[in-house]
Amino acid sequence: MRITQGAFSFLPDLTDAEVRAQIEYALAQGWAIGVEYTDDPHPRNFYWEMWGNPMFDLRDAAGVMAEVLACRTEHPRHYIRVSAFDSRRGFETTRLSFMVNRPSDEPGFLLKRHEVGGRQIQYTIESYATQAPEGRRYP
């Protein structure tokens, strides 16, 4: 099951040139850029691991692309995203976040039905991938 998180995730995966163009756009807006990765695809997993420090005051996408490629080489089967942070007053938040890498095989989620008092059902989801320990989730 294809994970759809962040911008452009319903589109086919972005090519490197498209990723670069998006980064150029974010830099032109004056946003700081961070590269993050994780192997836990749960939608409530907001805090991904940071790949190096966030990058401030960049003028050209070449620096970010180098980090993205380095992260991909190191974690070829992880989810990797690029997020752009707007520090301007009134925003002070992530303005753009999109995935630039995903595992080739995404096993999807198990829907768990938990029966509680009065046969009421609580639902929760769990990624099949997270049944394996961290780092060994996507063979």
């Binding site: 190096g52 420090n53 990058m55 005051d57 960049l58 003028r59 050209d60 996408a61 070449a62 620096g63 970010v64 180098a66 980090e67």
Partner: protein, 308 residues
């Protein structure tokens, strides 16, 4: 590729790996006009002195333009190495020229953004093990698409301390200078003799730098012209006595230790403005004319310690 260029191509010449026949002629003048590089070169000519530097920059610009023309015609060409070293005494205009250089390279399409990041050893070298590489890389990332100007670059290499982290920064720089030539241009700047030592101890560095520009010291006449231009841009002018005082001041100041060419002169003028303000403030006149506010008198300059 324009239609005109296509029509000019000889169909029998299957050069160019792309399959499309390469054009056989390119309009160098149009290329020059299109790049708008002449404007920057003309601005360069407005700078006083620095004749060998200006000549050299024109040569480089010509080379880059021809290289681009060759590329359009599908001729073989490697992306030229553009890393430079600017050597010269303090205040000879190295940073100013570096800014213009970034603009020229940008207009000719050799750097994508054309900004200049000026750094010194402190910005590149860390304080403890493992601190240098991220620091250097961060600076390099900021400079991507533009020009990285490393002032007093010889401080990066400290032979007296073999565990100095500067060497690490040099290695990362070399790697990026070699592998990401399209992404940034590095300019090393500093005093001529110490830069020579630096390059001798880092042969890899020296061989990767294509252009060595030497900045000559200014002559007294050039310094005087620079001083007058500085004052004009600030809406000041020298009275006759002020001009005379400046004329005497410059050779005296040049003999003083720590003379830093145009920079020393700028500081001297700042002090003269200070004294002028003081003089006007102390004067008994109730009303001060525009003329008085603009004029720097001989006494403002002659109060300097070099006349003592």
């Amino acid at each position: 590729m324009s239609d005109a260029a296509n029509n000019a191509a000889v169909p029998a010449a299957p050069n160019g790996a792309a399959g499309t026949p390469a054009p056989v002629a390119v309009d160098l003048a149009a290329l020059l006009a299109g790049s708008q590089v002449t404007q920057v070169l003309d601005q360069l000519d407005e700078l006083i002195g620095l004749l060998p530097v200006k000549a050299r920059i024109r040569e480089i610009a010509a080379l880059l333009l021809v290289e681009r023309a060759r590329k359009q015609l599908g001729l073989a060409g490697s992306s030229p190495s553009l890393h430079m070293s600017f050597t010269g005494n303090p205040g000879t205009g190295k940073t100013t020229i570096a800014l213009r250089m970034a603009e020229i390279l940008h207009r000719l399409g050799y750097v994508r953004k054309g900004h200049l990041i000026a750094v010194t050893r402190d910005d590149l070298v860390g304080q403890y093990i493992g601190h240098t590489a991220p620091k250097t890389k961060e600076v390099l990332k900021k400079a991507m698409g533009g020009v990285l100007f490393i002032d007093e670059a010889y401080y990066l290499y400290r032979p007296e301390n073999e565990r100095d982290y500067g060497q690490e920064a040099i290695e990362i720089l070399l790697q990026v200078m070699e592998n990401q030539r399209d992404d940034l241009v590095v300019i090393f700047a500093g005093y001529a003799d110490r830069m020579a030592t630096f390059f001798r101890s880092n042969p890899g560095m020296s061989s990767r730098i294509a252009h060595h520009l030497d900045f000559p010291d200014y002559s007294p006449e050039e310094l005087e012209a620079i001083a007058r231009r500085m004052l004009t841009t600030l809406d000041y002018r020298l009275s006759a006595s002020g001009l005379e005082a400046l004329h005497e001041y410059i050779p005296l100041r040049m003999r003083q230790p720590h003379f830093a060419n145009a920079r020393s002169l700028r500081n001297a003028l700042d002090r003269a403005r200070l004294r002028q303000a003081n003089r006007l403030f102390a004067s008994p006149a109730r009303e001060i004319t525009r003329e008085q506010l603009m004029t720097i008198e001989g006494e403002d300059i002659r109060a300097s310690r070099v006349f003592a």
